[in-house]
Symmetry: C3
Subunit: 350 residues, 3 copies
């Protein structure tokens, strides 16, 4: 169930130093790799570990190869970016054993007559596909998923079990939506009349590009009047909430538990650490990196790394520092008084 | 598929200035509105934009109308609260095209013999309704929903696809529960015996009033012995967690990702920004407004606006300020020492 | 539907002072208990309340019994830990009326031929059990649950409705997984190539011990290459996110909305308050207690209680303190300048 090194290099590129007919059974980190594995050196600090790895072959950069070539017993594949090569090699090994869901509609699924399901698509047990929905070639709709009216699922996109994808929303090609995610739920929009909330119908859609991954139990609201937009290559982890009318630029990634309030406009190539929060109607430009647990309360118009969370401390120490934070303006006033006293005395003396 | 202005005003009130027979096809914001749309001016700062809107008609307050009447080309509906009127008008436009799920039980649904389902209710594909559950007139139970034993769903309440509503819980009239929400799960109650947790059965219910909206993937725990209470008109966004035995007062609204620990008692007409957190067993009185990302760690007994989150900064600046926060008591001690030094010198000199 | 006190003591231990034939119908807190209830005194501060309780019998510690024996009208069960005894008694009362789902597979469930379902297990309506899955004796798989290929569910473990439990993951005995939880979703692992994310296949599992409870809509990622591990007795509340390759030690408990990033290693007997966050690749030793809303950004190598959140204040006060926090290094510089000025003056004068 493995592969020859030659076959791997033919498929993924790289310069092979060693026997092209050598068989490797899988990929593993340096420390865990056995004698039938290929491993990878993606961090130069691990050169010593690489030399001691049992792996039959190693994915390595040219810079690191210069150091380990002499001492390493096995074959090497020299590549520009060993970690990316590892990802692709792992995908290849996985493809050798992956069980591809068969084309066709499970007998227990409920598919509307007017839905268009490609012949090569898989519709799992108990899935529901509503009127006018379109499921592309090689798409996989897992067991128990719900696809609403006139929703569109692109070619090769996979929904794991129990995804809810509401009416008229669209996702492009090669996407993944994990279990429990809910796409296209109503946004949180109300007008307040004397304390009582009047619902504003949410009639926009969620429009998702190609190569987008959406994590388990993540929710993305449909737009109020216009659409919520998720551009190509966006990666969202689990338990994320994206409000209505947000726009998330291409290749932006968000870790688990992030929340983005409505109408936020986020650029391309941004990253958000876990549980970061973004208030509504803000603009964040391209290449902004927000740290975990940080609250973005104003627009960020300059690329860079931003953080804001209270530092953890022993509880007793935190209680002291928090009490002072509560009264920081008193502390500032004391400093001003001191400055004034000294200034007065200096003036009096001169 | 639109409506005459006269019909709109007959239904929703307001003073029409213009042709009652003018047809409008839908509602849109000032900037997006086309020549067949009605739009609305809910913020006086946008008066100039209103004058340039292509909209055929405008919803406007008397105060703003005094400014724009002369310059605006189209019809106007003058009302006390344009934003509320917009919400109602949008509801009306939506009702013209909305597809109402048909009365009846889908063939693939599993409904217990002892459940009482009103004739006008809709039970979607693959839904499960357990023994003794009661589903009111015109209620809509979406595809894949689960309604537990003896649960009660009020008249006109809608569950979107894949809602879980557990045994004996109740929701009133005209409510909405969005996909993935879980109502009536066990609260987090344990007794600790030498480090090991012993589960305390959670035998209370979740009792939900009329006109309550609950967002996607929001969870509300059933009470331990007594009930968890959600009063009329409460609006909960997505990904919210409400602990067991909480009591949330009427017309309180919470944005996404809010968490409320067990037995918190929250008043009426409160608002909670996204990701605000409330510790357990606290009391929050009516008309308290808690900012996003703020942790409520003590009871709030006075109405008002409360906030508490660490301000975002460039990462390097945050590192500096966080290091000082960690040692604020050292800074306070230095100030005290300075004060003492100066006081001593002053006394010595006099 | 109640029990004799004698039967309770036979089953759960404790020293009964009073009539063994007295019937009690249920258990309730001191204030709520009626004349047919048993109640419990688990907090010595409530002794006065206990004396006034209507309860027919009281669970009490020896220390408290010395105070209330004379004044309390009813029977007493004297035990080492009244709260633990309450939990066990409540479990017993619940067992008297609980409706145990019947053994067998519901007609609407979809169970693969190669799945092994124990004869005493319950498979609910619309559940899907994939190839090679193993469901243990007396296990309960609720309506709409999904159990993936070769997943293993231990004896007596219960899944509430609409749980997703992915391929090859395992859970031990007597566990509970609440509705909407997703176990074994892909971890968030990518290699970045020129700004574009390349997915790293997630081929590890989630391995869960005995007596583990997992809350509603909680998500646990499968490992990337190795497994994610949840040891015996762990209790996870709702809406928690556990990243890939985490290891959570036995009898650790986490309240709602906690997030743990990938590869964190957490010890035994720890507790995490609601919405606490743990960054990836950290180590937290046994018996660490992290407060609600606190961000763990470094390893914690010493047991104890840790906290870190910004204190809540009236909004105007927060704005002042937050502005100063942003410029704390300026404040520190002023203090240093003052110290220097005074030092210089002192030196000049001497």
């Amino acid at each position: 169930m493995g592969t020859r090194l030659g076959a791997l290099v033919e498929r993924l590129g790289g310069q092979l130093v060693g026997d092209a007919n050598l068989e490797v059974s899988g990929i593993a980190p340096l420390a865990d790799a056995g004698v039938s594995h290929i491993s990878f050196l993606s961090n130069s600090k691990l050169r010593a570990e690489a030399l001691q790895s049992k792996a039959a072959a190693l994915i390595v950069s040219a810079a690191d190869d210069a150091f380990i070539a002499a001492g390493y017993h096995g074959a090497r594949i020299v590549v520009p970016n060993p970690y990316v090569y590892f990802a692709r090699a792992a995908q290849y090994f996985e493809s050798l054993t992956a069980i591809v869901p068969p084309a066709g509609v499970h007998a227990s699924a409920v598919v509307a007559d007017s839905a268009q399901v490609a012949a090569s698509a898989h519709i799992g047990a108990r899935a529901v596909i509503e009127d006018g929905a379109v499921i592309g070639e090689h798409a996989v709709i897992g067991a128990g998923c719900y696809v609403g009216r006139e929703a569109v699922v692109g070619e090769g996109t996979q929904f794991f079990a129990n995804v809810t994808f509401h009416a008229r929303c669209q996702i492009g090609k090669r996407g993944i939506i994990h279990s429990g995610a809910v796409i296209g739920t109503d946004g949180f929009g109300f007008a307040n009349e004397g304390g009582v909330y009047i619902k504003i119908p949410q009639t926009g859609r969620v429009m998702i590009g190609d190569d987008v991954d959406i994590g388990a139990n993540t929710t993305i609201d449909r737009g109020a009047l216009a659409d919520t937009i998720i551009e190509d290559g966006v990666k969202l982890d689990n338990q994320i909430q994206i409000g209505h009318n947000c726009h998330i630029g291409a290749h932006t990634a968000m870790a688990g538990c992030v929340g983005v309030a409505g109408s936020a406009k986020i650029g391309k190539y941004c990253t958000f650490g876990g549980a970061a929060m973004v208030l509504g109607h803000l603009t964040i430009v391209d290449k902004v990196h927000v740290g975990s647990g940080s609250m973005v309360s104003r627009s960020i118009l300059e690329p860079g790394q931003y953080t804001g969370f209270y530092p953890l401390a022993k509880n007793a120490d935190w209680e002291k520092s928090a009490a002072i934070v509560r009264n920081l303006s008193a502390m500032r006033d004391k400093i001003r008084a001191l400055e004034k006293t000294i200034k007065t005395r200096t003036e009096n003396e001169s």
